[in-house]
């Protein structure tokens, strides 16, 4: 087979325009397939970071929009394997303009850094944020985007909560995957609300002492409140974030059906090209056979050419796809998984494999026919 490589290569260059067009077409489709599979991979096969693997989120079983009593903390804290529990309350609201989107949470500053060791900031900033009730901490991306410095003031107008809150920026944190969150003191929020509406918890973020106890904790917490009026649903932070994706609609079916359509399109394009190219070359095949090439080697040469073309298409597609995932990472998004979107080597390998398989599968019929045509028929064939 190896010795036929130059021949395969020459054949591919024979109609340069066609080869280039085919490669472009296959590359566009495979690039798309790459991005979609990267998204699918990030959503459903994403690996939790070491810090994330230790965190669970407990919420009201009914929905995120319904809260839980603050007193639930005591019992959750007592579950074996729980190291720390922190209340995290989504604030929403508007910063200057409703177009400015970033997450805003009311939390307990003294516990935050135990639960989120990946948030890096200086000791002084940490202390200032914990000490001052009206302080807030923002991610580096927010600080850069809105040009906010330490000591600046930020005002949030509430929508879920009927309050307008003013904060002083006391800390700016850096983190590998999430730099777009604003945190502030939950007590400060409670103080701003009427007495009747205080003391609730939107979610409890739970830190486990080791990754193995995570599933046990989830079950134990939910069991504790199984017969209570307000039941809980506890899941890993990763599963919790996945819940947001399912909220967007049936994303899984959507992604898979588009992947299917794209793959089928490549199959058609590639099959078409190879059929055209083989048809042009029937006479040549006759000549090759007179020279002693066997049916099998002719089949191999044609299949090899198709595989070669789609492999090049696949490589270009993968390069384009990793460029696109880079762009997605830069875009502001509420979907956490997209912040770390990357074309994993395994996905890239899969794309190349799909390309080669499609190339071979699509050219099999024309190649088979060409290799089986009797010498005399093929020599007599005229375009």
């Amino acid at each position: 087979m190896i010795r036929y490589l130059p021949l395969i290569f020459k054949n591919a260059l024979r109609s340069r325009r066609r080869s280039i067009l085919t490669i472009c077409s296959v590359a566009a489709s495979l690039c798309l397939l790459g991005v979609l599979m990267a998204i699918y991979h990030a959503f459903y096969f994403g690996q939790a970071t070491p810090a994330q693997a230790l965190r669970l989120v407990a919420r009201n079983r009914i929905s995120l929009a319904t809260v839980m009593p603050i007193s639930y903390r005591q019992k959750i804290q007592q579950v074996p394997g729980v190291r720390e529990v922190m209340i995290m309350q989504w604030f929403g609201g508007v910063y200057k303009d409703s177009k400015n989107v970033f997450a805003r949470f009311a939390i307990e500053p003294s516990r935050l850094f135990t639960l989120y060791p990946e948030y890096i900031t200086s000791e002084e900033e940490k202390k200032a944020f914990i000490r001052e009730r009206s302080a807030c901490m923002i991610g580096r991306a927010i600080a850069d985007k809105y040009n906010i410095k330490l000591g600046d003031r930020m005002t949030l107008t509430g929508d879920i909560f009927p309050v307008t809150m003013e904060f002083t920026v006391r800390a700016i944190y850096d983190s590998a995957d999430n730099n777009e969150t604003m945190y502030f003191n939950l007590d400060y929020l409670f103080e701003s609300l009427s007495a009747r509406r205080r003391d609730f918890a939107g979610t409890f973020v739970i830190l486990a002492d080791n990754p193995n106890s995570v599933s046990g904790i989830a079950k134990a917490v939910d069991d504790t409140y199984r017969n209570a009026t307000i039941q809980t649903r506890t899941e890993t932070e990763q599963a919790f974030q996945l819940g947001f994706i399912s909220f967007l609609g049936n994303v899984k079916v959507f992604l898979l059906s588009i992947c299917g359509a794209v793959t089928f399109t490549i199959l058609l394009v590639s099959a078409n090209t190879m059929a055209m190219s083989v048809r042009e070359r029937v006479r040549e095949v006759g000549v090759l056979k007179t020279l002693g090439f066997t049916n099998a080697s002719i089949l191999g040469i044609i299949l090899g050419e198709a595989a070669f073309l789609s492999l090049i298409g696949g490589v270009i597609g993968c390069i384009l796809a990793s460029g696109l995932t880079y762009l997605v990472r830069q875009a502001p998004a509420f979907i956490m998984q997209l912040k770390t979107l990357n074309l994993e080597p395994s996905v890239a390998a899969l794309i190349l494999l799909v390309g080669v398989i499609i190339g071979v599968a699509s050219s099999f019929i024309p190649a088979w026919n060409a290799s089986r045509t009797p010498i005399l028929d093929s020599l007599r064939y005229s375009g």
Binding site: R17, R18, L21, T22, C24, S25, V26, A27, A28, S29, C31, L32, L36, R61, I62, S63, L64, A65, T66, T157, G158, D159, I160, P162, T229, R233, G243, S246, F247, L248, G249, N250, V251, F254, I258, A261, V262, F264, T265, I266, L268, V269, A271, N272, T273, A275, M276, I335, S382, G383
Partner: protein, 388 residues
């Protein structure tokens, strides 16, 4: 003289396999785009059908959704006597005090459950929902723990059929009826007696929102201005139509992804169409020479090949439309971050969408066919005739 169209049609039919494969490639691209458009159109229909332009939704100031709004029972009395409010046949002002919250229902698609809007409502509120009717069963009775579910919910959630019991608030609620109202958002909601629901959730005095029917469009606008300016009520008012229209943005992430996919697939399909047309030109070099000998001009040949490409991709466009037709009326659901619950709607493959599909296909053909057609037109007669 132009080359007859029949020449192109015959050429396409002679090379059936190639034609069909290229057309299918275009068709799949068109189908992906149309599926996304049909989804967005379906969602738009659901939301557009939901609002009545005469009705005004009253929410707490600063709140933009019923779910996080408050409206006190005490304010209801003030609201009732505003000017410009329509009255029903019994002479009561058409103002409906409502309580909205979400409950969690398990479905086949999502075993962990989806959020569904639960609405506590009074008889006047039911009267104000245009086209609302009971499909099967009966309405809930006041003072009883009974609920009526929208038809999409009855269809999608196995636990929400008549006779089933759902557990929320302080206990079990029995499903006694299935309601529908055209294609509006009501089909994805659960209705129950206002007093019963609000006492279950300890919210008898502070409910969620009020819906007001104005006598005419001018009165509706006046009412909105009046309510916004009222210091005592401290509320925001907006037309119900506007409120629902703003929720169409729920489909934005899927719409964005779909259009992104369609654009990249288009690039691929244009290359594929170009490939096919170049091959067609190459194979017919002799024919082109002959046509030139017969006196057809270069322009005529350019036009002829261009038209052939348009026909080819137009066929793809039509095939694409046929491919998405089965999607029509399939029900799906999407979460809305405004109501924090799921809205069900149907894919809508409208005639406009199909026209867009065919045009889109033709557009790909135009891009893919231009260069090959130019290539054909530029052939020299003698060289062309001599080509094999």
């Amino acid at each position: 003289m132009a080359i007859p169209l029949a020449y192109n049609l015959r050429n396409l039919t002679v090379r059936k396999t190639t034609t069909l494969m290229t057309a299918l490639g275009v068709a799949l691209t068109v189908a992906v785009l149309l599926a996304v458009l049909a989804l967005v159109a379906g969602l738009q229909t659901a939301f557009q059908a939901s609002g009545d332009p005469l009705q005004v939704l009253v929410l707490r100031k600063g709140s933009n959704a019923e779910l996080n709004s408050n409206f006190a029972r005490a304010s209801y009395q003030d609201l009732k006597f505003k000017n410009g409010i329509a009255r029903n046949q019994a002479g009561e002002p058409m103002v409906s005090l409502e309580m909205v919250t979400v409950i969690n229902l398990e479905s086949v698609d999502s075993p962990s459950g989806m959020n569904i809007t639960l609405r506590g409502i009074s008889p006047i509120g039911l009267e104000m929902r245009g086209g609302l009717k009971i499909d099967s069963g009966r309405w809930f009775q006041q003072g009883r723990r009974e609920i009526v579910v929208g038809k999409s919910i009855a269809k999608r959630y196995p636990n929400a059929h008549i006779g089933d019991k759902l557990k929320f608030g302080r206990g079990d609620w029995e499903v006694v009826g299935v309601m529908s109202a055209g294609e509006s958002a009501v089909n994805s909601e659960v209705f129950a007696d206002l007093n019963q629901v609000s006492s279950d959730y300890n919210r008898s005095e502070v409910l969620s929102s009020a819906l007001v029917r104005a006598t005419d469009p001018i009165a509706a606008q006046a009412l909105i201005n009046d309510l916004k300016a009222d210091q005592k009520l401290n509320v925001d008012a907006r037309s119900e139509k506007e409120y629902f229209a703003s929720q169409t943005s729920s489909a934005a992430p899927i719409e964005f992804l779909g259009i992104f996919v369609a654009v990249i697939m288009t690039v691929g399909s244009c290359f594929a169409a170009m490939n096919t047309m170049y091959a067609a030109v190459a194979r017919r070099a002799k024919e082109i020479g002959t046509l030139r000998v017969l006196g057809f001009s270069r322009g005529g040949i350019l036009l002829s090949f261009f038209i052939e490409s348009l026909l080819l991709s137009g066929l793809g466009g039509i095939l694409g439309c046929i491919l998405v037709l089965p999607l029509n009326n399939i029900t799906t659901g999407i979460g809305s971050f405004v109501t924090f619950s799921e809205i069900s709607f149907q894919f809508h493959v409208t005639p406009v969408i199909m026209v867009i599909g065919v045009l889109f296909g033709v557009f790909m053909g135009a891009i893919g066919g231009l260069f090959p057609a130019r290539n054909a037109a530029k052939k020299e007669i003698l060289v062309a005739l001599r080509e094999v």
